[in-house]
């Protein structure tokens, strides 16, 4: 018995030291990274990867200098390598005036200064820089056993190109969207804001993935406190992998347990430019077309970029419809439940009679009826979302028309309930931001339960709980319900529920205490 216990203990309880650290493969390279830069060592580290190519050649200078060119096949533009490295060093060098003076001691500097014609050359001295450059798609040239090397920025891989974003379609406005390539994205942004104060600061995250990202903002427009906070939070991220914006979003948001999105995202350069001009900060991650924008406030999720391309009157009407849609999507089923279960006095008599007739023979109470229909709606939405477009549409039509109609004919639900849930579904599509739409879908259920048990009292309690929760949220120090609470009247009247005409939008939205004029001067 004792031996059994001992065996179980050995199998289940690991020694303390072993339990504490689960070493990631990246750590095994740490020692190599600290060693002096050497082409041979790089070949040793990366040589086993079939996609990493090495090209050895010699420069015939004053002495014979062995060279090693390293790059990742598929990530570099081979034509550029041929044209700007191999041809100048192997073919054109013979007739170069400096060729007779080239030695191992001066080859790096002389090559950089007067032999290689490319724009993006950089001298490096650390092993870590060399490895990262190669794995990021640059080419690195090592010269003999010197501890210096040259990095050539020749990144070139197949990419999707600039296309119209699917999630943010627009009627009247630019059609271009971000792609998965970081530099393409920064160039799209730079084309929108041609001003030296636009800052694009590069970072790397993910111990294994070494993902490139940039933090972008407009100097003297963005609050220095917010910018510093962005860098501080990004600096605290310690992860092996960083495969997309979602990783960062969860790591830097203020309240990870809230259903409400606290970081905005966009796929459009014009939207990002607009947000930066409002004093916000963008985070562009390589490998994803989604750009994060901080800080985010609640009303921002209900406003779309088209508001700024349409005339003010049209924009105001659109916003009103969206806000109404969000309200209906969140509360329509619960109000229906509360009214039919507890507060029939609110309903005009004719309508009450009609509802009463419709409910005859329906076996489920209004709460269960609504919950069932909403769950069916959620299933249909989820099923249609990931299917190919034509099938997804079919699912929607089959679900909405056939199942709904069959359920009414079978006497399982009332026609009014089908209308109500259909209205809820349509209204939820009026919410322009996917993340906020999800939050509304989540909180719809507790509202229905509260309405089913406590009528309008329950709905009121739910609404106040959500309000207090929203009031307690902050996004990078900015109150989430700003400019409603804390009240900033100008921002509220200019660009929140309504959008004032452009000639009246003289000041930037007041994110923090300082309110700057849009012209950049105190007005």
């Amino acid at each position: 018995m004792r031996s059994w216990l001992k065996m179980i203990k050995e199998l289940t309880i690991r020694p303390k030291g072993e339990r504490q650290i689960r070493k990631s493969p990246s750590y095994s390279f740490d020692e190599d990274m600290k060693k002096p830069l050497s082409g041979i060592k790089v070949k040793e580290i990366l040589g086993s990867s079939s996609d990493v190519v090495f090209r050895e050649f010699f420069i015939e200078g004053k002495e014979r200098i062995p060279c090693l060119l390293a790059a990742v096949d598929g990530m570099v533009d081979k034509n550029q390598l041929d044209q700007f490295i191999l041809k100048p060093l192997m073919v054109d060098l013979a007739g170069h005036s400096e060729v007779t003076q080239l030695t191992l001691a001066n080859v790096v500097d002389r090559t950089l200064q007067s032999i290689l014609p490319g724009l993006e050359f950089k001298k490096i001295t650390k092993m870590e820089e060399a490895i990262n450059a190669i794995l990021s798609g640059d080419a690195v040239i090592f010269f003999g056993d010197t501890t210096e090397a040259l990095v050539f920025g020749a990144r070139g891989w197949p990419s999707r190109g600039v296309a119209e974003p699917i999630t943010e379609s627009i009627v009247k406005g630019p059609r271009e969207g971000f792609s998965e390539t970081l530099r393409t994205n920064t160039s799209l942004l730079r084309r929108k804001i041609k001003h030296p104060s636009l800052r694009i600061i590069s970072l790397k995250l993910g111990n294994l993935t070494n993902t490139d990202l940039v933090v972008t903002y407009i100097d003297k427009v963005a609050s220095p406190d917010i910018v510093a906070e962005v860098f501080r939070r990004l600096g605290t991220i310690k992860m092996d992998s960083m495969l997309g914006n979602g990783y960062i979003e969860e790591m830097i948001e203020d309240n990870p347990y809230s259903p409400f999105p606290q970081i905005a995202f966009t796929e459009r350069p014009d939207v990002l430019a607009g947000k930066l001009l409002e004093g916000k900060v963008g985070i562009i991650v390589d490998g994803t077309p989604i750009v994060l924008v901080v800080p985010a406030i609640m009303t921002q999720f209900l406003n779309v970029n088209e508001d700024y391309y349409q005339r003010a009157m049209v924009a105001v009407l659109s916003r009103f419809v969206r806000y109404l849609g969000a309200f209906v999507a969140m509360l329509a089923p619960s109000i229906y439940i509360a009214v039919t279960t507890f507060h029939q006095e609110i309903i005009p008599t004719d309508l009450l009679m009609s509802i009463s007739v419709g409910r005859q023979g329906v076996p489920l109470p209004a709460l269960l009826e609504a919950l069932t229909m909403t769950v069916v709606l959620e299933i249909l939405q989820e099923a249609g979302l990931r299917l190919p477009k034509p099938i997804g549409q079919t699912i929607g039509i089959v679900g909405a028309l056939i199942i709904g109609d069959a359920a009414v004919k079978a006497g399982l639900v009332t026609p009014l309930m089908v209308i109500m849930i259909g209205l809820t579904a349509v209204a939820s599509y009026a919410i322009p931001t996917f993340d906020l739409g999800l939050a509304v879908r989540i909180i719809r259920f507790p509202f229905m339960v509260l309405a089913g048990f406590l009528g309008f009292f329950g709905v009121s309690v739910g609404l106040y709980v959500v309000t207090i929760h929203l009031l307690s949220l902050r996004s990078f120090g900015v109150p989430y319900l700003s400019p409603i609470a804390p009240l900033r009247i100008r921002a509220l009247l200019q660009d929140t529920f309504v959008r004032a005409p452009w000639w009246a939008l003289k000041r930037r939205p007041q994110l923090i205490d300082v309110e700057e004029p849009r012209s950049g001067k105190k007005g």
Binding site: F342, H343, E345, I346, P348, L454, G455, F456, F457, G458, V459, S460, V461, L463, Y464, V465, T467, I468, H469, L471, S472, P479, L481, I484, A485, P486, L487
Partner: protein, 364 residues
């Protein structure tokens, strides 16, 4: 340290001062002042202005301290502690009664079959959440709720205009000015409830010279805004029901909400108004919850979630003690008239007087 802006102070002050006063104010004003009772509302509320100015002048002299701390500094440790205990007892008891009132109005008006404890629990949940979120969130909450209360009151008043009978007001001042004075005296305790809250929130207020001037302006605005709104509430009820009926109906506004009708189509919308009244109730109860927690922290050094839960338990206990109806209304009036009014109207002037005397005499 949490801080609220001068604008938030104004809105929060107005929301706390208003609280649920619009429910019983008509009954109380007409009970004391008859058909001229509506004229006593604004003067009754205005009585709070000198007290508020005294409190704010104490803030200028003792920045970042609440009145309990100032009491200890001016009157000595033990007298200060005794005042603190009285303060905690009064505000704690009154907060519990307000929670009871919250359940009572729901049960009376729209949901007579729902168990009372569910209303208490729902209300207390909101209060606890608000208090746990801090003063800043409370101030922002009032920025949202107060405009809703104003809109709901204006709707109630506006939609009742077709039922008005002007003759109910006449003859005006038939019994002289005496009813106005007696009505104002009965309204004063409402305003003194606000002073108790102001005594505690001082530590969260800005205290530069410019901001102090804005705070004083905020008090004036809050008092006049709430005074005028409550006056209109009383006036419309007198015009619709007549003074005797208003006095008999304890919560006349709820009845007014019941009879609201738009074009003979939309009616029975009191359940919608009740949602707003719940918000008002939460603001008022939270204000008293805060005062209790500030008191406990200052006097005994008790703070944290477990003490907040203890205060919740006390509130619930008091709410269950005075279940409903007229006895609850009488109890609230008694606490207002015989505890809050005398305590605040004696405490504040004494503190202010002693501080002025010490300042004049050069005593630190």
């Amino acid at each position: 340290m949490e801080r609220i802006s001068t604008h938030q102070f104004m809105t929060l002050g107005a929301a706390v001062l208003m609280g649920t006063t619009f429910l019983p104010v008509a009954s109380i004003a007409t009970g004391a002042g008859g058909r001229d009772g509506w004229m006593s509302v604004l003067p009754g509320f205005a009585m709070v202005i000198p007290y508020s100015l005294m409190v704010l002048s104490l803030l200028a002299q003792y920045p970042n301290k609440n009145l309990l701390q100032i009491s200890e500094a001016l009157l000595g440790k033990w007298i200060g502690k005794c005042i603190g205990v009285i303060y905690i007892s009064i505000t704690g008891y009154f907060g519990g009664l307000l929670l009871s009132q919250c359940g009572d109005i729901y049960e009376r008006s729209i949901m007579p079959l729902t168990p009372l404890w569910l209303f208490y629990l729902g209300g207390l949940l909101l209060v606890f959440y608000t208090v746990s979120s801090g003063v800043e969130v409370f101030a922002r909450f009032s920025e949202i709720v107060f405009p809703m209360i104003v809109i709901a009151l204006v709707l109630n008043i506006g939609l009742s205009i077709p039922r008005m009978e002007q003759g109910e007001l006449l003859p005006i001042l038939s019994e002289g000015l005496k009813p106005i004075f007696s009505g104002a005296f009965k309204i004063m305790p409402f305003a003194m409830e606000y002073i108790l809250f102001l005594a505690g929130i001082l530590t969260f207020l800005p205290n530069s010279k410019k901001e102090l001037a804005q705070l004083k302006n905020g008090v004036w605005r809050a008092v006049f805004l709430v005074g005028i709104l409550d006056m209109l509430v009383v006036l419309i009820q007198i015009l619709v029901f007549g003074p005797e009926e208003v006095n008999r109906l304890v919560y006349g506004l709820l009845v007014l909400g019941k009879i609201v009708e738009i074009s003979r189509t939309v009616s029975g919308v009191e359940s919608l108004f009740m949602g707003v009244w719940l918000g008002a109730s939460v603001v008022k109860i939270s204000a008293f919850f805060f005062t209790v927690t500030w008191g406990l922290e200052t006097v005994f050094g008790f703070k944290g979630v477990k003490w907040n839960l203890a205060v919740c338990a006390v509130f619930l206990g008091i709410a269950f003690g005075f279940v409903r109806g007229h006895s609850l209304f009488v109890e609230i009036t008694l606490v207002d008239d015989y505890l809050i009014l005398p305590f605040a109207s004696v405490w504040i002037p004494i503190l202010w007087g002693v501080s002025r005397w010490k300042k004049g005499a050069g005593v630190q």
